[in-house]
């Protein structure tokens, strides 16, 4: 970045930011530090509960040994095959979705600008279903999900005519695209044999059953690549939330940062979808909850990722331990809870007359 007067306000980051050079500025207000620490502790507790709870759980006393790979027999099997990968995937997918949602909401300046609302999940489900029916052995289902997600996003982007900016258009276009995706999925579920249909239904609702360390590696690699880039542009996105004109006046380049943010968001949610299927509402709710924790003005990237991880681990804990339904796909829990939360959120926004 050339040193001119235009860059001066960017370099002089306000108090409460941890700055590295002029580009990285991680918000470090007291509220966010507390919230971050709290979320982290909760995430640890939920993680331990996931590993230790239930008939197959690893005894708390044996847990440290299992974590460093010294466990024997049952514990080794449970940790390496059953719960270890599943927990790691849950945290990774949750964090990826939370971060993706925060980026989307920041760019669109729209609390509803999330991959769920714009039909990404339904598109991913349709892509997965289509591949399962048409190319059952040649194209892996996750690849189908990826293609479906990208197609759905492109369709929404084209049909709004104004990009992702206008909330009303975005939502309605998303509903339209989601309807087409759902129709494809339902047709495939109808056409397949019952057992295959049942497996596919679980996947298109978002499931963490029987995940492997390979799945964990996939999502964590994408997360590791995307997170530093997101941190790099976070400050410029914050400025961008004031509006493009102000951002330009402050010497920021909002368009480049926004494009990068959208690409990162797509990559993150696509990685999540390919590992776990489309899990509903995490990307939408995590940034909202994070924002309320810090009473900040916009989505907080790091806290959103932590919140997303925590939400998904908790939901997956329900899916593994609640006796009500037998190992229901985790996406159904997030759909139910997220739906109710979205309803409350909307009513709240309307009371304030925002939307």
């Amino acid at each position: 970045m050339t040193v001119t007067d235009r860059t001066a306000p960017v370099r002089k980051a306000p108090r409460g930011y941890l700055t590295v050079g002029s580009t990285v500025a991680i918000p470090l207000r007291r509220a966010s530090v507390f919230a971050g620490a709290g979320l982290f502790v909760l995430l640890l507790a939920a993680g331990v509960a996931t590993l230790a709870w239930g008939r197959l759980g690893i005894d708390l006393a044996d847990l440290p040994a299992a974590l460093v790979g010294d466990a024997e027999g049952k514990d080794r099997f449970v940790f390496n095959r059953l719960r270890g990968p599943r927990l790691t995937v849950a945290i990774g997918v949750g964090a990826a979705l939370g971060l993706s949602g925060a980026l989307f909401q920041s760019v669109t300046r729209n609390p509803l600008g999330s991959p769920d609302v714009i039909g990404l999940s339904a598109g991913a489900g349709a892509g997965a279903a289509f591949c399962a029916l048409m190319f059952p052995d040649t194209v892996p289902v996750p690849v189908g999900a990826l293609i479906g997600a990208i197609l759905a996003m492109a369709l929404v982007y084209v049909s709004t005519g104004t990009g992702f900016r206008n909330p009303a258009r975005l939502v309605i276009a998303g509903i339209g695209v989601a309807a087409m995706g759902a129709a494809v999925t339902q047709y495939v579920v109808y056409a397949l044999e019952r057992d295959k249909a049942s497996v596919l239904t679980a996947y298109v609702n978002g499931s963490l059953t029987a995940r492997s360390w390979t799945d964990a590696t996939t999502v964590w690699l994408v997360l590791a690549a995307a997170a530093p880039l997101a941190a790099l542009i976070s400050r410029r996105l914050d400025i961008g939330e004031m509006g493009d004109d102000i951002a330009e006046g402050l010497g920021s380049e909002p368009k480049k940062a926004k494009t990068l943010a959208v690409l990162l968001a797509i990559a993150l949610s696509a990685a999540a979808v390919s590992v776990s299927g489309p899990i509903a509402f995490i990307a939408l709710t995590a940034p909202q909850i994070a924002r309320r924790l810090t009473r900040g003005s916009g989505p907080h990237l790091l806290l959103s990722a932590l919140t997303g991880g925590l939400l998904l681990v908790l939901a997956d804990l329900c899916s593994q331990q609640l006796p009500l339904f037998d190992d229901l796909p985790v996406g159904i829990y997030t759909m139910a809870i997220g739906g109710v939360y979205l309803g409350c959120l909307l009513v709240g926004e309307w009371r304030k007359g925002v939307l």
Binding site: A168, G176, A179, Y190, G339, L346, G353
Partner: protein
């Protein structure tokens, strides 16, 4: 049309040409419906000709052809019933809420009916169309009321809010439906065949058991015509004209619920017919709701039957269910409408 006659008493000439135009459109609508009816009986996964149909009617066709063509009667009749129900329900909802996006599918009513039917099959052993009909009704009604309550919280209902509220409620109900169906394989099996929305594979019993509900809904809809016309001018004007907006809205909700519950119970949830038909009808028949309801009742079945025929022909020898076809006709229409939306609403 009502507004012009009220405002311009001297416009007798335009009114006469208007009547001629309406009569012409009515004939056109009837012709289109007749064509769709023929198509629905003639075309299918096994191709037959119009001559074959005449032979069957005369009783001179060979037995195989007779069986094939007679197997298409129930789905044709069901298509007419469901088409009328969905289109008139959409017209009513758009009229009552003055919301161009109001539709049983978008406003959560179909999801309510579905959730209720799934619960009934899972826990109360409901089977058969009459059973499910009785279960579909309360589900549809509760969902409709809930969406209106959520959507009008705060500073009053708006188009986007109602659609959002519908999407939220649909999401929660879908979670419930998936939870039940995935944990009960038997319910999953019947649900996955039902939820795509298909006219095929059902018999006349289904038609007869939902017909009374549909008929009552349709009669209420016809009676609401004048009230809806008054409502279109705004609540204050409607009251001044001696109409009761509250009564019209309540009646509209009841009729729309009856109609969409009947359609959903009979053929499964079918999206977008209720959204698309009223828009076309408004463009053709003008603002008079009495005419709109009538034309919807002609155009809904035409659209649904043609979509069903398309679904039977495109993937021969297998079929694409009508619900899939309407989604792929209706959703692009919605996307085009979004592109044309001005401002934020």
């Amino acid at each position: 049309m009502a507004t012009t006659t009220v405002a311009q008493p001297s416009g007798a000439g335009t009114s006469r040409t208007g009547a001629a135009r309406s009569a012409f459109l009515l004939l056109l609508g009837l012709a289109a419906l007749a064509l769709a009816l023929c198509a629905s009986v003639v075309f299918g996964s096994r191709s037959t000709s119009f001559g074959d149909v005449l032979d069957v009617l005369r009783g001179t066709a060979d037995p195989t052809i007779t069986t094939i063509i007679e197997s298409r009667y129930p789905r044709t009749v069901l298509g007419v019933l469901a088409g009328v129900c969905l289109a008139v329900a959409g017209t009513l909802m758009q009229g009552v809420s003055r919301n161009p996006l109001a539709e049983p599918g978008l406003l959560g009513i179909n999801a309510g009916a579905s959730a209720s039917i799934v619960a009934a099959t899972a826990w109360f052993g409901a089977a058969g169309a009459t059973d499910t009909m009785w279960w579909a009704l309360p589900g549809a009604l509760i969902a409709g009321v809930l969406v209106h309550v959520i959507g009008s919280a705060g500073t009053g209902a708006s188009v986007v809010r109602l659609v959002l509220a519908g999407a939220v409620l649909t999401a929660v109900l879908m979670a419930f439906i998936q939870a039940v169906t995935l944990s009960k394989p038997q319910v999953f099996d019947s649900y996955r065949y039902w939820v795509v929305g298909a006219l095929g594979g059902r018999d006349f019993d289904v038609f007869w058991s939902v017909l009374p509900f549909a008929a009552v809904g349709f009669l209420i809809a016809l009676a609401l015509g004048p009230g809806l016309n008054a409502l279109a001018l705004g609540d204050a004007t409607a009251v001044a004209l001696g109409s009761h907006p509250g009564r019209t809205r309540g009646g509209g909700l009841v009729a729309a619920t009856l109609l969409s519950a009947a359609a959903t119970a009979a053929v499964g949830p079918i999206a977008f017919v209720g959204l698309a038909v009223p828009h076309v009808v408004r463009a053709l028949a003008g603002v008079d709701f009495r005419a709109q309801i009538l034309f919807s009742a002609l155009m809904g079945p035409t659209l649904l039957l043609l979509a069903d025929v398309v679904g039977r022909v495109v993937m021969r020898p297998t079929e694409l269910m009508v619900g899939v076809v309407t989604a792929f006709i209706g959703a692009p229409a919605l996307l085009i409408a979004v592109r044309r939306m001005r401002g934020t609403s």
